[in-house]
Symmetry: C2
Subunit: 143 residues, 2 copies
């Protein structure tokens, strides 16, 4: 199940118990266990919204890193902590996602990052897919 990922992507989820535990796969990657909280599920894996946070934060991270490297900046460490706040009425999607971007670098400056985040917004595929529906708030910490 491999394709040209610049054009199309494939994935599959298979129910593996009698509640909501799925085994998810794409390409030849190790399966990801997906589940929901009790009572509907049993907490046996990532929730769909946690997978969304991984999807969005890795996408933003990849964009930010690619831009910083084009600027010849040194990256000694990089991580993004994400927090998604849900709506309390159906459908209970995320209304706001906070991305805490932690960069370990000797030459990335706070003033670089405003432009880098703007450029990232213009190229990050996952961010573009939630435009108008989910607010994404970025906070950058350079150490």
């Amino acid at each position: 199940m491999q394709t040209d990922k610049s054009k199309e992507l494939l994935a599959k989820v298979v129910l593996i118990n009698n509640k909501l535990n799925f085994s998810g796969t794409a390409d030849s990657n190790p399966p990801v266990s997906i589940d929901y909280t009790p009572p509907l599920g049993d907490n046996l894996g990532y929730t769909s919204l946690e997978l969304f946070l991984l999807s969005l934060s890795s996408c933003v991270g990849s964009a930010v890193l690619s831009i910083l490297r084009k600027m010849k900046k040194e990256i000694k460490g990089f991580e993004i902590e994400s927090k998604g706040i849900r709506k309390q009425e159906h459908p209970t999607g995320l209304k706001t996602v906070y991305l805490n971007i932690n960069i370990n670098s000797s030459d990335v400056k706070d003033e670089d990052m405003e432009k880098v985040i703007q450029l990232s917004e213009s190229i990050c595929p996952v961010w573009s897919m939630v435009k108008g529906n989910v607010e994404v708030v970025n906070n950058v910490n350079i150490v």
Copy 2:
């Protein structure tokens, strides 16, 4: 890093090489390797858009299953194959996602499924987050 997941969710991605390979985690789940295709990445994990497909398809699947169970339908097997078609201009998000919903059941009827999909759309959080930006096309196969 545990919260009330009906209110907020947490996740984290940490860069683990000098390209775009992240280790992603949420709660106490085993880490997910995330990467991009060459030359930017090395195909060492799920792409961000594959994680999005897992997020969306598990969300739709959970909604469909919850509704079918309320209808007292028997589910002997359930899986969703997803295919995402990317835009070819930046940002190269998914313009269309095809969900192939395969249900093994002796009492779910094709005529039930139109209403079930409509209801699922009204409660699936991830679907709501891409409304207006991504077309979701469902196809149901009952065996």
